[in-house]
Symmetry: C2
Subunit: 331 residues, 2 copies
């Protein structure tokens, strides 16, 4: 498609348009992704997560400036799964926009979950691949919230930064468990607040207790809004990035990721089509009876599992909407 060529040649508006196609789950999506796939896989992806109010947006903003000093182009993907019905731009997004809007080396996009039907982690991976293919060397993925979706999203990051603030209370305590397992780097932000030293000590103890990994997550402090601790964070990111590159078992991780991505894409498309009743002919009757309750959902699933050729009209019923088949398919 022409849009893809333009995107690959650095056209930011083409990139934005393609991301919108991802958000709307356009039927041609698998073909688009197949075509850009070979151009992706080069970017360094940093996931930044932590409880709401931890100052992640500010941190991402400052970090962006740091990467820009080195001349690296930065893509930012901000995700807010806790507001599935808003779909609008995040506040932090607008603040950043003001600061980096004039810089062509920074691309910012926020993703809501409107219409993504539980496929937010897949959509995020696709958006990251697109920005990657558009030749941004560093991609920062920021998630708000700490549910399963956020953990799934963090799986696509090379380095995961978990941000806490010196705030006690049940909320943060409950959130900690899930987040600490996935952290490559900890940051205690808003370090000028009371309780900061305690929080730091606590995290250091936690890291020590679970120090069975090859990489021991450092615990950093920061006051992001005035820029304190940012260069230290950038340095640790560079260290982890180099460490990853030197590792041998990156291959296993990649094989696992390939398989997961394949499964996600395939089941994503099938699920989307089934829910939208897009199927014709072979499956239409079954879908109708499932809807009516004449056949129960499990019975219907078994029927298809035992006879998957029933799915044959699920994807190919809209030939007009599909671009030319990618040549690589003709093995």
């Amino acid at each position: 498609m022409e849009l893809i060529d333009r995107m690959l040649r650095g056209d930011v508006r083409a990139l934005a348009r393609l991301i919108t196609l991802i958000e709307s789950r356009h039927p041609a999506l698998p073909e688009i992704m197949e075509q850009i796939y070979g151009h992706s896989g080069k970017a360094y992806v940093v996931g930044i997560t932590g409880p709401p109010g931890a100052g992640k947006s500010t941190l991402v903003d400052r970090l962006t400036s740091e990467f820009r000093k080195n001349g690296e182009r930065v893509g930012i993907v901000a995700i807010d799964p806790s507001s599935p019905f808003s779909g609008g731009a995040l506040l932090g997004d607008r603040i950043r926009m003001a600061q980096h809007a004039a810089d062509p080396g920074v691309f910012i996009r926020s993703l809501g979950t409107r219409g993504s039907q539980g496929g937010l982690s897949l959509a995020t991976r696709e958006v990251v691949r697109l920005i990657d293919a558009a030749n941004y060397q560093v991609i920062l993925v920021e998630t708000v919230g700490v549910g399963q979706t956020e953990l799934d999203i963090m799986e696509l990051a090379d380095t995961v930064v978990v941000v806490f603030v010196p705030e006690s209370g049940d909320t943060i305590q409950t959130m900690k468990a899930g987040l600490t397992e996935i952290a490559d780097i900890f940051v205690v932000n808003k370090f000028d607040r009371a309780g900061a030293a305690n929080m730091l000590r606590e995290l250091l103890q936690m890291v020590e207790l679970s120090a069975t990994r090859e990489w021991t997550p450092p615990v950093l402090s920061a006051v992001a809004f005035r820029g304190d601790g940012i260069s230290e964070l950038a340095a640790k990111l560079a260290e982890h990035r180099a460490w990853l590159a030197a590792r041998e078992n990156g291959r296993d991780r990649q094989a696992h990721a390939n398989l997961a991505e394949f499964a996600d894409v395939l089941t994503g498309v099938i699920g989307q089509r089934l829910r939208s009743e897009a199927a014709k002919n072979s499956l239409a009757d079954l879908l109708h009876r499932v809807k009516d309750g004449a056949v129960n959902p499990y019975c219907a699933a078994l029927t298809v599992l035992h006879e998957p050729s029933m799915l044959k009209d699920l994807y190919t019923d809209e030939p007009g909407e599909m671009p030319d088949r990618p040549s690589r398919r003709k093995k």
Copy 2:
């Protein structure tokens, strides 16, 4: 299967065993669910959600006693998606256990997300169906956290209760947006704390502003640990339950739910098998090449979408693990 018969006859240990099969994603799961499906669909399912520390467990506990007074059997499913690596019993669970352990009319189970690969909402729905089939009239589903997964889970509830506490701060504010959209009933718990009246007023305003729905969500107050406000909550639940039963558009909602359940089951099984490389013959070569990176995941997905019969060995490769095929399949 014998286990299913025992479960249907009220054997609690058989029920617990079947839930364990769900958690481990046993290959025979679709067959099991197909067999129990006809026995489910009678229970009144109440979802209880809200930020961590809102006192949901205590509320569920008190509510259970209330339903028991009316002689209804109560199933409780407690979910903690924010701790995907713990897998253990929740603290609240143990407290409740102590109180209701001697009561055969109460069944309690907590679900971690260990190994559920993003399929937590599907697993929860299956567990609820099982408890429903085991003849518990009321099922309380409690989730901790406020991500997309929790919202997905709440979709299966007939009535959604959102619990807040009078606690200000960024955290709660951020969480509010997503939660208020799904609430049928609000509860401000820990109402003896400072800021309670403010929180109540705020919620009432929010409800007023969005009062376009047929059911206007009431805003209740409670101090669950000493039992205040519980009978009022139980009364509102009864009111909403009756309102639902009298509604006409329940049919549309059911049709949508049937289709979604079918899509989830089918794609869940396919995704699980692809990730585990369980496929033999027709798909083994492709999976191998995806793993190696010889074929990119999107290209592989397109290949299968255009030729779904490739999936034929995905499910039927372990005949030994499958029970007899349900007779209804032979249409």
